[in-house]
Symmetry: C2
Subunit: 160 residues, 2 copies
């Protein structure tokens, strides 16, 4: 298995759209917003990395600097194709993005995710990756669908 | 004292800019972002109400629907001119905005504010207005400047 992590390019848009739909975790509106962030990333507002396995894009992550903060970034989106889960792609992307952010002076990554029972796997992923729970807003997304906030303080980048 | 709460109009921009600068609570970048939201509001993305005292704009509030949520709104900005504080203008605006949001099916208002000691008054304002603390992210804005999240569940609007 040959895995490459690289910047997203415009030709990735269609495979990423397919991945967002096929993974089944996102509503139509969420897919639309995810693609908006991807497109805005091509203009420089956000940064998207993809993981390609044997040349096929199988996972991606989108991060961006949090407005009005000095060194906080948000992890806006992280998605793995259902056919490529449990291979560590999300973890590789999260680590890659963390180093990218730290290289640019970022000190923490914030994630907002769902508190729903069927989101237990993503929450466990973040907790194992070093994210600390920072809060919860009841019924945030919709009734019975809380928002859970996580934050990971990044390793300081060594001066080179 | 004659107080009127009304929608912001383009002629309010300059008085509001002056208020943001004079109140001393906001950095240059925060003033810039506040004005961006105001301008976006004129295009329909956000809603801004002003409180005019004897014809002079003395406080304002900006709210907007939270993306990807069904019935959550954010209170993005709330500012009172230093010469008009402790007169209940912020409370009137917050209540007015809460009714506006509830009329449109909104069920909660979320506020992100600073955990700094010099922000104790705004935090007390929100707590007295019925906001519940929902979380805190350390060093979010900058080192020593945490983000504190609050949420107020709105009174249900009566069917009319």
């Amino acid at each position: 298995m040959d895995v490459i992590i690289r910047d997203a390019v415009r030709d990735d848009r269609e495979p990423l759209r397919g991945m967002l739909v096929e993974c089944g975790a996102f509503s139509d509106e969420e897919v639309r917003v995810a693609l908006e962030l991807l497109d805005a990333g091509f203009e420089g507002d956000y940064t998207t990395f993809v993981a390609a396995v044997d040349g096929i894009v199988r996972a991606y992550i989108c991060v961006g600097q949090t407005p009005l903060t000095r060194a906080t970034w948000h992890l806006y989106w992280l998605c793995t194709h259902p056919a490529a889960q449990r291979q560590g792609l999300a973890r590789m992307l999260e680590r890659h993005a963390g180093r990218y952010v730290a290289d640019r002076g970022g000190e923490r990554l914030v994630v907002e995710t769902s508190g729903r029972p069927d989101y237990e796997r993503p929450r466990q992923f973040y907790e194992r990756a070093g994210y600390q729970p920072a809060g919860r807003i009841a019924d945030y997304y919709k009734r019975g669908d809380d928002c859970v906030f996580y934050c990971r303080v990044l390793d300081r980048v060594r001066a080179s």
